[in-house]
């Protein structure tokens, strides 16, 4: 069962049905992301869209990519989205007012995006090969590993370094050491023993300390 079979959408009627169901769900949830009045509902629809696209990736055989999509985007990024959106005190009426003025820009961006994808797809003639999830490798994970850790190792490490610099930058920008603030020293706390903190006295009755 673990053996690989090259999956091409359309080879199997079950896969075709699954593709149409998943594609429909992705489209509906993507539309709902922008149509939903409540921002929290928007994020929930976005999560559904992410999750269903992971399903589509599984269908073309890119299972590693699909799992990563779920772990990274659904499991971590969308949780942060949801966090922020839930904390916001949004006035829905005010939110709706700007809709028409932003519509042209939104539409323009959408059209540009579709045009770019179409351009990229038509520029490469053999479309079936463009979506090959594991070119020249046994599995999807191996193919990605080959590209990232062998073919483009230096570029990959460079991008990692850039991310590290960005992270350090964010920490440095937000780190403030305020003086006169008592801080917790965990090592000092746990190293504290009874004899450091208490002493036994022999108090005579009626005298006190």
């Amino acid at each position: 069962m673990a053996a690989r079979a090259v999956a091409r959408i359309g080879a199997d009627p079950v896969e075709l049905i699954a593709f149409y169901i998943l594609a429909a769900i992705v489209t509906i949830s993507a539309v709902s992301v922008i149509a939903a009045k409540n921002p929290v509902h928007s994020v929930l629809w976005l999560i559904l869209a992410f999750f269903t696209s992971a399903g589509l990736l599984v269908l073309i055989g890119a299972e590693f990519l699909a799992m990563l999509l779920v772990v990274v985007y659904v499991g971590a990024v969308a949780v942060l989205f949801l966090f922020v959106v839930m904390m916001l005190d949004v006035d829905f009426v005010e939110l709706k007012q700007g809709f028409l003025s932003y519509l042209p820009f939104g539409a323009l961006m959408g059209i540009a995006f579709i045009a770019e994808i179409a351009l990229a797809t038509f520029a490469r003639g053999d479309t079936a090969d463009n979506f090959n999830p594991y070119p020249g490798a046994e599995t999807n994970a191996e193919a990605i590993g080959q590209v990232m850790y062998t073919d483009y190792l230096l570029l990959f490490q460079l991008s990692g370094l850039i991310l590290l610099v960005a992270m350090i930058g964010a920490i440095v920008l937000t780190l403030r050491h305020r003086p006169h603030v008592k801080r917790q020293n965990i090592a000092k706390q746990t190293a504290r023993r009874r004899k450091d903190a208490t002493r036994q006295l022999d108090v005579k009755s009626g005298e006190g300390l």
């Binding site: 673990a2 079979a5 929930l44 299972e63 799992m67 499991g75 949780v79």
Partner: protein, 358 residues
């Protein structure tokens, strides 16, 4: 699964798969009823109480009585609640808890779907579990559930990171993300189990620490004591599920306990040799028996180990006092994350320079 369907025809293949799923569900729910009782009994025993002992002999039917009570009570939905999300949250929790079990191999070949990226699938689905809690807390439209869900989300996201790194150490040792292959890598007695990994003696100290860290992270991930801050009865009354009653609450609880059992079986599969017994003997003798009989023996070992892990979970609940929230975060980010990261480096170096994999 798809290979199986191609071999046996579409209809028969699908029916078999659905049958397997149903079997898994029923067995899981039934064993959950008794594991819940065990949890309470262990807790009671530590406190020198008797625990539930009225319904049925030794209180064995207690979980079923509770089940009936939950089903028959009225479902109360708060007036200010977001009704759809409020009801969706427990359903999502339960569905995700069941979905993870699709890739758990309980005996050689006895698994619903033997995915190549099985461990990644488990990780992905368990990382979704946080949504049930966030949605439940937010949709209740009430302060305590909301605070509880925020705490829980932060906690689960934090400990997921270290769990991920711990899983990577095991993946590095095995060289595969397929759960059956991870288990097969530990065949041949307890000294090859990843907890001990005596066959790679240099890694022994690393893997023991990884096992303990996985156990503690699993406690935090499933919101079990001593990390049950999302529920913290003394501060938040019951956290994200304050507003839930009746069946939705039951769904939440079943989902929670299923996740605990799932974490136990992950511990068993990743570190404790899965379905393999502690001592491998008489391989030739066993080969005489039919495969299903041998598999039943393997299943028994698997279940015994899972129950042992669950016993540890129950024991920890009774023995250890609750962590403070800042201590919890410190443990996750400042201790577990660097330690597991260093362990990944050590194991990777060992694998490369000592030639573990072919």
């Amino acid at each position: 699964m798809s290979a199986f369907i191609q071999e046996h025809g579409l209809l028969f293949g699908w029916l078999t798969v659905i049958g397997q799923i149903l079997l898994f569900t029923i067995v899981l729910l039934l064993s959950l009823a008794f594991l819940l009782l065990m949890d309470r009994k262990v807790w009671a025993a530590v406190m020198m109480r008797k625990g539930p002992n009225v319904v049925g002999p030794f209180g064995l039917m207690q979980s079923f009585a509770d089940f009936g009570k939950f089903l028959l009570k009225e479902i109360i939905i708060p007036a200010g609640a977001n009704k759809t999300v409020f009801l969706l949250a427990p359903i999502l929790s339960l569905t995700l808890a069941f979905a993870s079990w699709a890739v758990i191999p309980v005996a050689p070949g006895w698994v619903v779907s033997d995915l190549n990226v099985g461990i990644l699938y488990l990780f992905a689905v368990s990382s979704l579990g946080v949504y049930g809690i966030i949605m439940g807390g937010w949709a209740s439209n009430s302060k305590y559930p909301f605070l509880g869900s925020l705490r829980s989300a932060a906690q689960m996201v934090s400990y997921e990171v270290s769990i991920g790194f711990i899983i990577i150490t095991v993946i590095l040792l095995v060289g595969s993300m397929n759960l059956s292959e991870i288990v097969d890598n530990q065949s041949g007695g307890f000294w090859t189990w990843h907890v001990f990994s005596f066959n790679h003696i240099l890694l022994f100290p690393v893997m023991v620490v990884m096992f303990v860290m996985f156990f503690v992270s699993a406690l935090a991930e499933t919101n079990r004591p001593p990390f049950d801050l999302p529920e913290a009865e003394s501060e938040l009354v019951a956290g994200y599920q304050v507003e839930y009653s009746s069946t939705p609450y039951l769904l939440f609880m079943i989902g929670e306990y299923l996740n605990i059992v799932l974490m136990c079986s992950m511990m068993v599969i990743l570190f404790m040799g899965g379905w393999h017994g502690p001592i491998a003997f008489g391989e030739d003798f066993i080969a005489n028996f039919p495969q299903w009989l041998v598999n039943l023996g393997h299943l028994a070992w698997f279940m015994a180990k899972v129950v042992f892990c669950f016993f540890l979970f129950a024991l920890v609940k009774a023995v250890v006092p609750r962590y403070r929230y800042d201590q919890l975060m410190r443990l996750g980010w400042k201790i577990f994350l660097p330690t597991s990261l260093v362990a990944v480096f050590i194991v990777a170096g060992y694998v490369v320079y000592m030639g573990v994999q072919s």
